[in-house]
């Protein structure tokens, strides 16, 4: 496992984690994914503190955020990232089961880069994640300091 990961995935529901990782695995992206269980941990990772104190410096190429999470929710993490000059260039994708418009509006207001409603149809979900993963983590030229997955 590489020390530097390309995708930070914050999701509290283990089922969703498993399904998402299965989808990413299908596209050979799973090895580049760091999974955290809540927003606080995601921020710890990004700021290299707590249990991530020792991690190799550098920002992930992409952050996938679940909206509803314990401690700090997706919008909270998003706000924190976008207010931090060192982090704000990281592409953020809000990955959520909510179709509620208010969540979407709030996310865009806070500067989210993409907002994906998790489809119940798993194929659709795979498709969305694949597109995002390919776009942000593979095809897109990441900003300096981020790491492209191999």
């Amino acid at each position: 496992m590489n020390q530097i990961h390309s995708i930070l995935f914050a999701e509290d529901n283990p089922h969703d984690v498993e399904l998402t990782l299965a989808a990413l695995t299908e596209h050979n992206l799973a090895n580049d994914v760091v999974v955290v269980a809540d927003g606080a941990e995601a921020l710890d990772y990004l700021h290299r503190r707590g249990r991530y104190q020792e991690r190799v410096p550098g920002n992930p190429a992409l952050v996938l955020l679940d909206l509803k999470m314990p401690k700090v929710d997706g919008l909270g993490v998003l706000r924190a990232i976008k207010q931090d000059a060192a982090l704000r260039t990281i592409p953020i994708v809000m990955l959520t089961s909510s179709r509620e418009e208010q969540d979407l509006v709030r996310s865009y207001e806070l500067g989210v880069n993409a907002y994906v409603v998790k489809p119940v149809d798993f194929q659709g979900f795979i498709e969305a994640v694949k597109q995002l993963g390919v776009f942000w983590a593979v095809l897109n030229q990441p900003p300096v300091g981020s790491h492209r997955p191999r």
Partner: protein
């Protein structure tokens, strides 16, 4: 001279007379006293003489007796004998002289025995001689009895003489003192009298001076009267019975140019007159002499220089005690000015007449017995009558007796005798050809110069229209539904319209008789007073002021006031009873409050629902997604290890999860459609339909569908919601025509009467039984089983909800096996410029 002074003079004179009388008495007494004194002196002398006589007689007797004794010659006894008789006489005389003097009488009594003793001694000597001859007699003489008696007699006489002298001296002394006193009294009395007389004389002199002054004043007064007489601004003269001038004043002389000498006693009054006047005088003078007075006779005098002088003469006759005419006292006034004034009067009358003629108010001039002498043009015009029908006729007969009004003629009739007048007498009369007229009359007494009669001027004003206007105003005031009133500065209503009774129950009289603040609710009084003061002070209108007034039944009514202040503290105000509407407003605001509360509750409920939906969308969908996802994973990774039944179950799990997901999505959407804010944007329906049709391409696969899309308008609606409508309707059309080989879907629009649009989607699919048409738009209501056509039963419910929110209506027609037509209407909305701008920004 004053009465007081007369009294003083009287008293002075009386006192002087009394003093004089006293002096006379004193003088008399003094004189009497002097008489007595000489008598006393005489008496004293007489007494002395008598005493000397007694002594002499005694001496003669002694001498005779001694001669006889010596000689014996009887011859010698003759003086003795003579004196013996006279001695007793002398003693008697003495006694008589001393009768009133007790001291001297007593002395005389002592003298008498001595004399007797002497006489006896001498008698004895004589006797002895005769009898005894010389010797005894000489012895007897030698015994000196006679001598001692004689000596005693001498002593007594001397004593008596001295006593008499002393008494005289004492008396004389008293008399002298009295005389001095009397002299002093006389001097004092004379002085007093002199003073009194001087005072009286002075007083009388003053009196005389006063009388002189009064007389002088009288003379001056007389002179003044004379002066007045002479210089009076009118002529005075007196005529005797022949008409001769016996007195004339300077003024008249000056007028006429004659001197007094030329005139008085020489000329007759007739000589001064023009022939015409002379004739008049000749006629009048005898009558004047009989009757004693004449007034204001006009004469024309001829002056010395020939000029004429018109005068007005008044005269009174003076008669003697027998009643015979003595003279006249005539007063003459220069009549030149009056004549000129009369001339002016004529002009003035012409002037006045032209004014009367041109004045717009009808005027009539009446005689004292109310007969019309004249009327002006306005009168004839106003009353449509002619001078012929008017002049000379009694007022009461004019215009068919219309003027014969009770009160009017009587009122007019009192004007002349009582010198009154009246203003603003109002009368209403039926005038022929004019109808009912209200007139206001003013009347005045006019003096007619010359013949000393009076006339009446009656001026009239037609106030019919004004009265009508007032009556209309009054009716307006009386009938107004609003309460109208006039409030005065004293805090009372001056006038109030009867509407007050409807509004507050009080009669107008009841309402006016107490201060209005008393009738205002105590809590509103201060505000009302302030409002009124402010209004009166600032003079501004009040357009809306409310306070509570007491209704007669004790309740309070809310009055809404509008008022306009007028100078002098008057306020013209209208009030409306707004009690009911205020109560209504209170109820409405109460309802509003409740409504707001309900809305708030609803909002809260909505919020809760939203939270619930939110929660559902997250938490309900996640496990479904997991079921499906893991079923898929199982399918993918373990399908080979399952038998057919297992694989079928796996597929059922997966599709059930998907169905449930769909159902949840649509329910959420349905819920959201009801809550989301409606945005009216400009929307091209044709483009939208086309877009939705494209999106449904996936469902159509290889089916051939005959789409007939008519002209569709641009509307004002919420794009997201309308898209949902079209998705549902077109989706349904596609779905329910699935079993048709030749599918035809017709989309069209027509405009209804109100300018709204009615859209329709017609298909030739499965159709439905019109008996169940009511169920079509219900939530979860389906007319087909899932075996026939899949679906959640929410789509049409959503359509209806969206259309209703847009103010339109959704309905359907159809028959089983013959297709269905779905309609929805949208009301016409004017494009909103703001949403226009938003729409263009969105596009």
């Amino acid at each position: 001279m004053t009465h007081n002074r007369i009294r003083i003079i009287k008293i002075g004179v009386l006192v002087a007379v009394i003093v004089l009388l006293s002096m006379v008495v004193i003088s008399y007494r003094t004189l009497t006293s002097f008489g007595t004194a000489s008598e006393r002196v005489l008496l004293t002398h007489e007494v002395g003489d008598a005493l000397e006589e007694v002594l002499a007689q005694l001496r003669d007797m002694e001498t005779g007796s001694r001669g006889f004794i010596i000689t014996g010659d009887e011859q010698f006894l003759e003086p003795y004998e003579r004196s013996l008789s006279s001695v007793h006489q002398s003693l008697a005389r003495l006694h008589a002289l001393m009768d009133d003097d007790p001291v001297q009488s007593r002395r005389l009594q002592t003298l008498k025995p001595l004399v007797e003793t002497k006489l006896a001694a001498m008698q004895e000597g004589v006797t002895l001689r005769r009898r005894g001859g010389f010797a005894p007699a000489a012895a007897h003489v030698g015994a000196a009895v006679g001598k001692r008696a004689m000596d005693d007699i001498r002593e007594a006489v001397t004593s008596m003489k001295e006593g008499q002298k002393r008494a005289l001296d004492a008396w004389l002394e008293t008399a002298r003192r009295d005389g001095r006193r009397a002299a002093a009294a006389l001097v004092i009395g004379l002085a007093m009298d002199g003073l009194l007389l001087v005072a009286v004389i002075l007083s009388i002199r003053r009196d005389w001076q006063a009388r002189d002054e009064a007389a002088g004043a009288l003379r001056r007064q007389a002179a003044e009267i004379q002066d007045l007489y002479n210089r009076a601004p009118c002529g005075y003269h007196s005529l005797d019975a022949d008409g001769r001038i016996i007195a004339v004043n300077d003024t008249e002389l000056q007028w006429l140019g004659y001197s007094r000498e030329e005139m008085v006693g020489r000329m007759k009054f007739a000589d001064l007159l023009t022939p015409a006047s002379r004739e008049f005088f000749a006629e009048n003078f005898p009558r004047f002499k009989r009757q004693g007075a004449t007034v204001d006779l006009e004469y024309e005098l001829v002056c010395k220089d020939g000029t004429l002088l018109p005068v007005v003469l008044s005269a009174a006759a003076v008669y003697d005690e027998a009643g015979r005419y003595v003279s006249s006292r005539s007063t003459l006034f220069d009549n030149t000015d009056r004549k000129r004034l009369e001339q002016l009067g004529v002009q003035a009358r012409l002037h006045a007449e032209s004014i009367v003629e041109s004045v717009r108010e009808p005027l009539v001039i009446l005689t004292e017995n109310l007969r019309v002498t004249q009327a002006n043009r306005a009168f004839y015009l106003t009353f449509q009558t002619t001078p012929a029908d008017t002049e000379g006729r009694p007022l009461g007969e004019l215009a068919g007796g219309a003027w014969n009004q009770p009160g009017l003629l009587e009122k007019l009739a009192t004007i002349v005798p009582q010198a009154t007048q009246f203003d603003d007498h109002e009368m209403t009369a039926e005038l022929p050809g004019l109808g009912r007229k209200t007139l206001r009359l003013n009347a005045r007494k006019l003096y007619r110069p010359g013949n000393h009669t009076s006339m009446l001027l009656l001026a009239m004003e037609d106030i019919t229209r004004r009265r009508q206007a007032e009556a209309e105003l009054d009716r307006f005031f009386t009938l107004s539904l609003d309460f109208l009133c006039i409030a005065s500065a004293d805090g009372y209503f001056k006038r109030a319209s009867p509407a007050v009774t409807d509004i507050l129950g009080w009669s107008v009289e009841e309402f006016l008789c107490r201060p209005y603040l008393e009738q205002v609710h105590p809590e509103d009084r201060e505000a009302t007073r302030r409002e009124v003061e402010e209004q009166v002070r600032a003079g501004r209108k009040v357009m809306s002021f409310e306070n509570r007034y007491r209704h007669k039944d004790g309740s309070w009514r809310i009055l809404s006031w509008r008022s306009v202040p007028q100078p002098g503290g008057l306020m013209y105000a209208t009030a409306r009873d707004v009690t009911e509407s205020r109560q209504m407003e209170r109820r409405i605001s109460q309802l509003n409050l409740e409504l707001n509360q309900q809305a708030a509750q609803l909002k809260a409920a909505n919020k809760e629902l939203e939270a619930f939906s939110y929660s559902v969308s997250h938490d309900l969908r996640a496990p479904l997604r997991h079921i499906d996802g893991f079923a898929q994973l199982l399918q993918k990774n373990a399908a080979a290890r399952l038998d057919d039944t297992g694989r079928r179950h796996l597929a059922t799990i997966s599709s059930s999860a998907k169905n449930l997901g769909l159902l949840i999505d649509e329910l959420l959407q349905f819920s959201r459609m009801g809550r989301a804010e409606l945005r009216h944007l400009r929307l091209d329906m044709r483009a939208m339909v086309e877009e939705v049709r494209q999106s449904l391409q996936g469902d159509m696969q290889e089916r051939s569908i005959d789409w007939q899309i008519g002209e569709l308008p641009v509307v004002q609606a919420d794009p997201a919601m309308l898209r949902q409508v079209w998705i549902n309707l077109l989706g349904n059309a596609v779905k329910y025509t699935r079993n048709r080989a030749d599918t035809r879907i017709v989309i069209s629009c027509r405009t209804d009467a109100d300018g709204g649009h009615v859209f329709s989607v017609r298909d030739n699919g499965a159709g439905f039984d019109m008996r169940y048409v009511d169920k079509l738009f219900g939530v979860f209501q389906r007319l087909h089983g899932p075996g026939e056509f899949e679906g959640t039963g929410i789509g049409l419910a959503n359509v209806q909800r969206i259309i209703v929110r847009h103010g339109g209506r959704a309905w359907a027609e159809g028959a089983v096996g013959e297709g269905a037509t779905f309609y929805f209407s949208l009301p016409h909305l004017e494009p909103d410029p703001a949403s226009e701008a938003r729409a263009s920004h969105v596009s």
